[in-house]
């Protein structure tokens, strides 16, 4: 009697406990459904600029070679520091590592290689119903981000767009919330065009903006915000604008021509930039790094970013060898996927020199 009174609830609980554990275990193992057999995996991350292309490459390379590239886009700043900290096998950035970062890397794991992977236009996207075509200049953009032009019908915007009915609406510029290579390229362009912007904000991955501007994470975050908010304006890689069918502004280039962001205009800018001397930091610190903003040439689009893969020159055997093999693949076969996503394929010269640079990687 005594025995049964005590064992009953305990007995039931035992069943409950076992049932809970079983449910937990089956749910864990059941979820695994289509997980493949163990394959080589390369942990990477960084720039959101190259993310659409990188995900395409990752899927293709997995299909062709069975190697998985686990690329998580969290901004160029994340890519650079996590490569320095060795949390990632390789990272991507649109801003070459500056002097301080290069030094920290040298103290941690040696020299870092910058391998250019792709070229892309940074499109100025805006959300203004009834204004499908808009021309802007670097000076006007700089003043928008300095808070000096606040209305869409500002006379300086109107002067660039004769005959366009601009609404009397507030401009809501958006910036990146995290350290971003896209921001770096964008501020580099604005600083080249506007003395005042260079003094007050300057060239940086995460500058201190002169006025209160809403910050969003990633190219995706800016795109989402502009897509949903009337009157807003932002800067993103072209593919984000295309995929979400957002209006992009044409920009006046160094030759004074209004150019739309397109692969052709990007290639033209890159050609001009490749011939220009690379004297200023950070471009003088690393071979194969170029500033493609405000390039000369009638057809050149003025804000062009180069996305670099960064990796230590000294690599462990694994995953170092798989990593170099992937980067070579991306440089060569991978370029054929660039055009369909709105990126400009690298010039053959850069592909050759990039592959040569990859050959200098040593394994320990």
């Amino acid at each position: 009697m005594q025995q049964s009174r005590w064992s009953t609830p305990i007995h039931r609980l035992r069943k409950q406990t076992i049932a809970i554990i079983l449910v937990a275990l089956t749910s864990i193992s059941g979820c695994r459904g289509n997980g493949s057999a163990a394959s080589t995996r390369i942990t990477a991350g960084g720039a959101t600029f190259i993310d659409p292309l990188m995900q395409k490459w990752s899927a293709e390379y997995r299909r062709q070679q069975g190697v998985e590239i686990d690329y998580v886009a969290k901004g160029s700043g994340y890519g650079i520091t996590n490569v320095i900290n060795r949390n990632l096998a390789f990272g991507c950035t649109d801003a070459p590592m500056n002097k301080g970062e290069t030094e920290q890397a040298r103290n941690t794991g040696g020299d870092v290689l910058h391998i250019p992977l792709t070229l892309g236009a940074i499109a100025i996207i805006y959300h203004l119903p009834g204004v499908p075509d808009l021309i802007l200049s670097g000076e006007v953009l700089a003043d928008i981000y300095l808070g000096q032009i606040t209305q869409w019908n500002d006379p300086r915007i109107a002067a660039l767009n004769p005959g366009v009915a601009l609404p009397a609406k507030a401009i809501v510029p958006v910036r990146r919330a995290e350290a971003s290579g896209t921001t770096y390229v964008f501020t580099e362009y604005l600083s080249k065009r506007s003395r005042e912007f260079a003094d007050k904000v300057g060239v940086s991955k995460s500058p201190k903006w002169f006025v209160e501007i809403l910050g969003k994470e990633g190219n995706a975050g800016i795109t989402a915000h502009v897509k949903q908010t009337e009157g807003s304006l932002g800067y993103v890689e072209l593919e984000y604008a295309r995929k979400n069918q957002l209006a992009t502004a044409r920009l006046l280039n160094a030759a004074g021509k209004a150019v739309a962001p397109e692969a052709g205009a990007v290639t033209a800018a890159a050609q001009a930039a490749l011939e220009a001397p690379r004297t200023s930091e950070p471009y003088s610190l690393h071979p194969l790094t170029f500033s493609c903003t405000d390039a000369a040439g009638e057809t050149a689009y003025p804000i062009v970013g180069v996305s670099y893969a960064i990796l230590y020159q000294k690599q462990p055997k694994q995953p170092g060898q798989s990593l170099v093999a992937f980067l070579k693949w991306a440089l060569q076969q991978g370029q054929s996927y660039a055009a369909e996503l709105g990126y400009a394929p690298l010039p053959a010269e850069l592909v050759r020199r990039g592959s040569e640079l990859l050959d200098t990687v040593t394994y320990e």
Binding site: I10, T81, L214
Partner: protein, 628 residues
């Protein structure tokens, strides 16, 4: 000696091996003390790691003007972080201004006026509201609160705004998040007011509102103050919901539509953008220390008030009632016996008093409705946006597949939580056993305090701890990188004190005579524990573990810095590991409709899972009570 008859079959093999000898007792003592030691070690390491990394900033606190300047421009060597402190303060104050009146009003209504059925229902809803993960609050706040409520409201007044985002939106969502705590704790405070005091007031002719105002609230004041302090501690440390809706601006502004940033949000965004050598890391860590200090001070103060260590000044009550029993201070007694302002004349039955009573009852009822309303707004909106997007492929496919799904994130989440539970449940249980079996051990007070503190540590700091210790430790040249280990470790640190506390309560609830009977029959302490105490307390312990697991299932902040996220199923525990809350956060910010829909589906599934666990554990504990 034959073991007593009470032994359950469940534990019998264990008991016969370890229980029946003095080695069993010794082993148990060693195990429980080791678990308690681990807790102390973790707490000490947490503080040590933060301090170590923050040291350069602490040394240059003045020179870098960290707490005196608003100039935050790390690239140019300016580290003025006053803006973030300001943001944290403003959002917390806004949250308190909204949550405290509502929560206290609702608590008073539930405690003094509502019928028992309504009371049970309301407490059930409040528990559900408290169980909703913060990333879901954030997602809802961006899409509903900011875009659909505040944005149009600002437009109405013609104010310039950033889609409704900003300090006010963050403050409101924080208010919603701390409402359950304020309400529940204030409710407890009101319930603990002795019934005789109420009856005395009513007998003197006071209306219900007069009783509440002159008796219940003054007597419950310390408890309510504690509720406010504890809620403030939570509000200061909240990360995800705030970072999604605050606008991340680094510009000083005090207009109602101002955007800003808070300390936890800044750490979540920027910590993994820093290297251990650069000053920005030290500054972020110093801000983390400040956050830790704030949260701990609030928590300690709150608990001290609850325990009666600190007595907030009480207004002398009318006519001698309302004095807490056991107050032997003669001065206070005298004051109570001869109140300066004799208010009995107030309690004359008049139409005016009756009107006020009715009006205030309605106001309190309204407060109670308003505390429940956000739950339905959130659940309704998430269901509306998310329920239709859940399909079978959601559970079987990857985000870039056709059709898309979040299978890897679900798997990763289950993996992380299972791993964390596997570590945290035994350790937590052993700590509870230590505290229960050795209440007079010199360390038991410290351990209790430590566990309380650990529950109060903001979750983002637990993430920082995991990041520094396991992802990127400064002392090795080959860091381990983002991994399931690091993620599970962070989650386990959050889980241990919660499990320990609930298990301790469960053990304490076992009637003492059972234990005494077993000991009297000659059972060793270990036998008593394994055969009597644990089986009797098991349902409650299990409930505690389930609740803790449900809570960490929705955690995002500690995982951003440790498990990171991944595009694939994790192959091993040393890979970066995806999790459901992480991908809700990530996809919530994407422009693609496909990913946005996945985020809504994910939020819906997450809420359903968390709520189911909550309801199931309630059911479990109730059924266990009824069989006892």
């Amino acid at each position: 000696m034959k073991p007593p008859q009470l032994l359950s079959r469940w534990f019998s093999p264990v008991i016969s091996v370890v229980g029946a000898s003095r080695w069993g007792d010794r082993l148990m003592a060693i195990l429980t003390q080791a678990a308690a030691g681990i807790l102390l070690l973790v707490a000490a390491t947490l503080v040590a790691v933060l301090t170590y990394q923050a040291w350069p900033a602490l040394e240059h606190l003045r020179q870098w003007q960290i707490l005196t300047s608003t100039n935050w421009d790390p690239e140019r060597g300016a580290y003025g972080a006053l803006l973030f402190v300001f943001g944290s303060c403003v959002t917390s104050v806004v949250a308190l201004l909204i949550a405290v009146p509502l929560g206290v009003g609702a608590a008073v209504y539930l405690s003094e006026i509502a019928a028992p059925a309504r009371r049970r229902l309301a407490s059930f809803f409040l528990e559900l509201l408290a169980a909703i993960p913060s990333v879901v609050f954030g997602f809802w706040a961006v899409e509903f609160l900011a875009k659909r409520l505040l944005g149009p409201f600002y437009d109405l007044w013609g104010w310039k705004h950033q889609s409704g985002e900003g300090l006010l939106a963050a403050g409101i969502v924080l208010a919603v998040m701390i409402l359950p705590y304020v309400t529940a704790l204030s409710y407890d405070a009101c319930r603990s007011v002795p019934a005789s005091l109420r009856e005395g007031a009513l007998a003197l002719g006071a209306t219900r509102w007069q009783t509440i105002r002159h008796v219940v609230l003054p007597v419950a004041r310390p408890g309510i103050l504690a509720a406010v302090l504890l809620a403030l501690g939570r509000a200061v440390g909240e990360t995800m919901a705030v970072t999604m809706v605050i606008g991340n601006a680094q510009y000083f502004d005090i207009s109602p539509t101002a955007t800003g940033d808070t300390i936890p949000s800044l750490i979540a965004k920027q910590l993994h953008e820093t290297t251990p050598q650069e000053p920005r890391r030290a500054v972020l860590m110093a801000l983390g220390l400040l956050l830790l200090a704030l949260a701990l001070v609030m928590n300690t103060a709150g608990r001290a008030v609850v325990r009666g260590r600190v007595q907030p000044r009480r207004r002398p009550l009318c006519a001698g009632f309302g004095q807490t029993s056991g107050n032997d201070d003669p001065a206070i007694r005298a004051e109570a016996a001869y109140p300066i302002d004799h208010p009995l004349s107030r309690y004359v039955s008049s139409r005016w008093n009756h009107r006020i009573d009715q009006g205030m009852t309605a106001v309190l009822a309204l407060c109670q409705w308003l505390t429940i309303l956000p739950l339905f707004l959130i659940l309704g909106y998430i269901t509306w946006r998310g329920a239709g997007e859940v399909s079978w492929s959601f559970f079987t496919h990857l985000p870039h597949d056709q059709p898309p799904g979040l299978a890897h994130a679900l798997y990763g989440s289950a993996l992380l939580v299972a791993l964390a539970t596997l570590v945290a449940a035994p350790v937590g249980l052993l700590i509870a056993i230590f505290l229960h079996e050795q209440p007079h051990h010199p360390l038991s007070g410290v351990i209790t305090r430590c566990a309380e503190w650990l529950t109060a540590v903001p979750s983002i700091l637990i993430g920082v701890f995991g990041y520094v210790l396991l992802v990127s430790p400064p002392w090795t040249s080959r860091p381990w990188g983002y991994s399931a280990y690091a993620g599970a470790f962070a989650l386990a640190v959050m889980m241990v004190p919660v499990v320990a506390r609930s298990a301790q309560e469960a053990l304490r609830a076992v009637p003492a005579h059972l234990r005494e009977a077993a000991l009297a029959l000659g059972a060793t302490r270990t036998q008593t524990l394994l055969a009597v105490l644990l089986p009797a307390a098991w349902p409650a312990i299990l409930t505690g573990i389930l609740l803790a697991a449900g809570r960490i299932f929705g955690e995002t902040a500690p995982l951003i810095l440790t498990a990171r996220g991944s595009q694939f199923f994790p192959q091993s525990l040393s890979d970066p590991t995806p999790s459901l809350p992480f991908y809700i956060y990530d996809f919530a910010q994407k422009p693609d409709d496909v990913l946005q829909r996945l985020a809504w589906a994910g939020a819906f599934v997450l809420v359903i899972i968390v709520l189911c666990v909550n309801v199931a554990s309630r059911f479990l504990s109730r059924s266990a009570h009824s069989t006892r």
